[in-house]
């Protein structure tokens, strides 16, 4: 990927308050067997 000449490079530091990553997928619980009353 040609993003430009190295001599145009400058450094940026990004420290997000919250990382832009979605929460982990919820764990799907197995269906429970109906319990007789």
């Amino acid at each position: 990927m040609d993003i430009g000449a190295p001599d145009t490079e400058h450094e940026i530091e990004i420290s997000p308050l919250e990382e832009p990553v979605p929460a982990p997928a919820p764990i799907e619980e197995p269906a429970k067997e109906p319990v007789p009353a």
Partner: protein, 154 residues
């Protein structure tokens, strides 16, 4: 010189391959074969020379992204011959081979970033949203669920 400091992630544009991994498709690096992007976890640059210090000055390591959609589309045309502008009506559809889907989309970048005139080399990244090329509704649904991002069929 001290780097610029920000709290908002940079949003760039890039391409991915979409390849099967076990029973699910995943995003893969466009230029590095079989480097898979994790779902719901940040993707962090690693370098054989600099380890987790990537990206470093004077090297080419890091996670790459362009500054604009047009630059990502130019790369897509050069690699695949696909002539398409995403999100604009009336454009031709891509003649991709079946079973070799691609994605073009936005990516969040953060951590240490080295910015050049046309793009970035970043330490951390996660897909922001993407257009799926050469896939179908089921694949779009799978990627949407896996990465928890918006995925459109182009």
């Amino acid at each position: 010189m001290n780097p610029e400091q920000h709290t908002d992630p940079i949003v760039g544009w890039r391409l991915w391959h979409v390849r099967p991994h076990g029973d699910a498709h995943r995003l893969e690096s466009f230029t590095w074969h079989h480097v898979s992007w994790p779902a719901r976890r940040r993707f962090t640059a690693e370098c054989p020379t600099h380890g987790d210090s990537a990206p470093t000055e004077g090297h080419e390591c890091g996670i790459y992204a362009f500054k604009t959609r047009e630059l990502a589309e130019d790369l897509l045309r050069r690699y695949t011959g696909v002539r398409q502008h995403y999100g604009r009506p009336g454009q031709e559809l891509p003649p991709l081979r079946q079973g070799c889907p691609l994605a073009i989309g936005r990516v969040s970048l953060w951590g240490r970033i080295l910015a050049r005139e046309n793009g970035f080399r970043a330490q951390h990244a996660y897909p922001y949203d993407l257009f799926l090329i050469g896939g179908d509704d089921e694949l779009a649904r799978q990627l949407r669920r896996l990465y928890a991002i918006d995925v459109w069929l182009s």
